[in-house]
């Protein structure tokens, strides 16, 4: 039982990061109908930012702020440089554009920095544990879960109680109707990318604290997990994306903990099979989106 509680906390910690990434992907999908495969590049750029700042002697508190800011700004720059020009194009064109950005950023780091991963120091406290009776909880997991919950609450408040949030949700529900109300498409899309970048930045802080390395493909794995979580939850549903993230994290941890050692390497494969089964029975994902949500 104690072991299960520990695994659940571990799964929620991992799922928190997925939830933040998935939520960012769902926000963009809501306003542009774009599955943004360039979302991982925010982690890649954040990883190199961390590497450069940490090797220059800055401490993690400052690096944390820098990561969040850099991810948000990078997201806005990507929208301005790439997605603005294909806005209104068929979904497939936007999808290809996101792949283009993904590979371009990767190639730029390979060409001008290095193809190899670079290590940087991780904060010491992430390995500390907190013992409650027989349960030993990682401080890192608790910090991730608490930060994610605070971030999700702030995001919820922003979306529900500010004119920016209401405009963003209106644009996601019916973009043309939102424009007819006077909502500026540039502003709302830029805002969506900024918010998505902020969420990715918070996720990147914890992802990079754990991985402690920067490389051209540092963002690939988190991007895939974020997209998967958004799909599991029901693409276009913000609450579904969060739910999908937690479900994915929990399933991964429980599989790793319970699969026999000799097949634990198949965890990702089994996760994909489970997702395929989910889509057989619920093609719309865990949460059904009532409206076509696009810009």
């Amino acid at each position: 039982m104690m072991e299960l509680i520990q695994q659940i906390v571990d799964g929620l910690g991992r799922g928190s990061i997925y939830a933040l990434l998935a939520l960012g992907i769902a926000v963009i999908f809501g306003v542009m109908h774009l599955v943004n495969f360039a979302h991982g590049e925010l982690i890649t750029v954040s990883a190199y930012t961390s590497y450069w700042l940490l090797t220059s002697g800055f401490d993690w508190w400052l690096v944390t702020l820098a990561i969040i800011l850099v991810a948000a700004l990078t997201s806005v720059v990507i929208e301005f440089v790439a997605f603005r020009w294909v806005r209104g194009a068929p979904d497939f064109t936007m999808l290809m554009t996101s792949f283009g950005v993904h590979f371009l950023v990767q190639a730029l780091f390979v060409m001008y920095v290095s193809a190899n991963f670079r290590q940087f120091s991780r904060p010491d406290w992430i390995f500390d544990t907190w013992k409650i009776g027989a349960i030993s909880l990682e401080i890192y997991d608790l910090a991730v879960i608490a930060t994610t919950l605070i971030t999700l609450l702030c995001t919820y408040w922003l979306l529900q109680h500010t004119m920016f949030g209401i405009s963003l949700r209106a644009a996601a529900e019916d973009f043309d109707a939102a424009r007819l109300m006077g909502i500026r498409s540039n502003r709302v899309i830029r805002g969506a990318f900024f918010l998505s970048g902020l969420l990715a930045g918070v996720a990147a802080v914890f992802w990079l604290m754990r991985s402690g390395q920067a490389g051209p493909i540092a963002g690939l794995n988190p991007m895939l997990k974020g997209v998967l979580a958004a799909l599991i939850g029901g693409l276009g549903s913000l609450s579904g994306a969060v739910l999908g993230g937690f479900v994915l994290g929990l399933v991964e941890v429980l599989l790793i903990a319970r699969l026999p050692t000799e097949i634990v390497g198949l965890t990702d494969g089994i996760v994909f099979v489970l997702i395929a089964l989910l889509f057989v029975f619920r093609p719309q994902g865990l949460i059904t989106v009532q409206h076509v949500e696009r810009v």
Binding site: I166, S167, A177, L180, G182, I183, Q290
Partner: protein, 242 residues
């Protein structure tokens, strides 16, 4: 003319390879109710969408309040004082009634938005009782009132209305036409596309009849209302376009 608030000149708009409206011209004077009638597919909705900025014309001009607004984005058109109540209302079904109204006032300052919200709730008492209700649960008549209220939240000089009585029960159609008159009494100018030709001709000042993307007849509404040939030739005989 000085009192012309909207002037559409030689407007041509395409949907892909189809020319949906051709060489359309019309004028609306301040304080008027002008209606646009015609059979389905005549191009009425396309014309309103072009004026509101949702579609770009390939040729022609739209002048509103002495400003050339041709090709302006919908949000810019709205900020210039021209608001569209779209066909099928297109209210935000997942939003509460209050949120729908607030979205309509997104261009206003917070204080003015609250004042306008109070005004709308006075104008549409039925909405006051349902402020926290998701708009997707409203009846057709309530939803239409919400769509009009939402458009009025931008405090426009002129309202474009696309099929305001579409899909409503007869008793609710009366409510909508009463509302159109009430809006005119508050000094607003209206250009209304309406399938119920007989009813709109009763309340409008002037009318344009469209067919196959062109304006084929225009004149005083009272005069056109008495022309049997108009209904036989262009509106399928009943006065309600099929």
């Amino acid at each position: 003319m000085v009192d012309e608030i909207l002037n559409v000149e030689n407007l041509n708009t395409r949907y892909g390879s189809i020319r949906a409206i051709r060489r359309v011209g019309l004028t609306v004077k301040a304080g008027e109710i002008v209606c646009l009638i015609g059979p389905n597919g005549a191009g009425k909705t396309t014309l309103l969408a072009t004026v509101a900025g949702l579609l770009n014309p390939v040729l022609g001009r739209v002048v509103f309040n002495a400003k050339d607004i041709t090709g302006w984005s919908p949000d810019r058109v709205l900020r210039s004082g021209l608001s569209l109540v779209p066909e099928h209302r297109r209210i935000f079904g997942n939003f509460t009634v209050r949120e729908n109204l607030l979205v309509g006032g997104v261009t206003q300052s917070p204080e003015h938005r609250e004042n306008l919200l109070d005004e709308m709730l006075t104008l549409f008492p039925v909405l006051k009782e349902k402020l926290s209700t998701p708009a997707g649960y409203l009846s057709g008549g309530e939803a239409q009132q919400l769509a009009i209220g939402r458009a009025l939240m931008s405090n426009p000089n002129m309202l474009l209305m696309d099929e305001p009585s579409l899909g409503l029960a007869p008793v609710l159609v009366d409510v909508v036409f009463d509302l159109i008159l009430k809006l005119r009494d508050t000094g607003r100018t209206l250009l209304v596309v309406e399938q119920n030709a007989q009813r709109i001709l009763d309340v409008a000042d002037r009318a344009y009849v469209m067919r196959s993307g062109k304006i084929v007849v225009e004149g005083a509404a009272s005069e056109l209302a008495g022309r049997e040939d108009l209904f036989d030739t262009y509106l399928g005989g009943s006065g309600v376009a099929a």
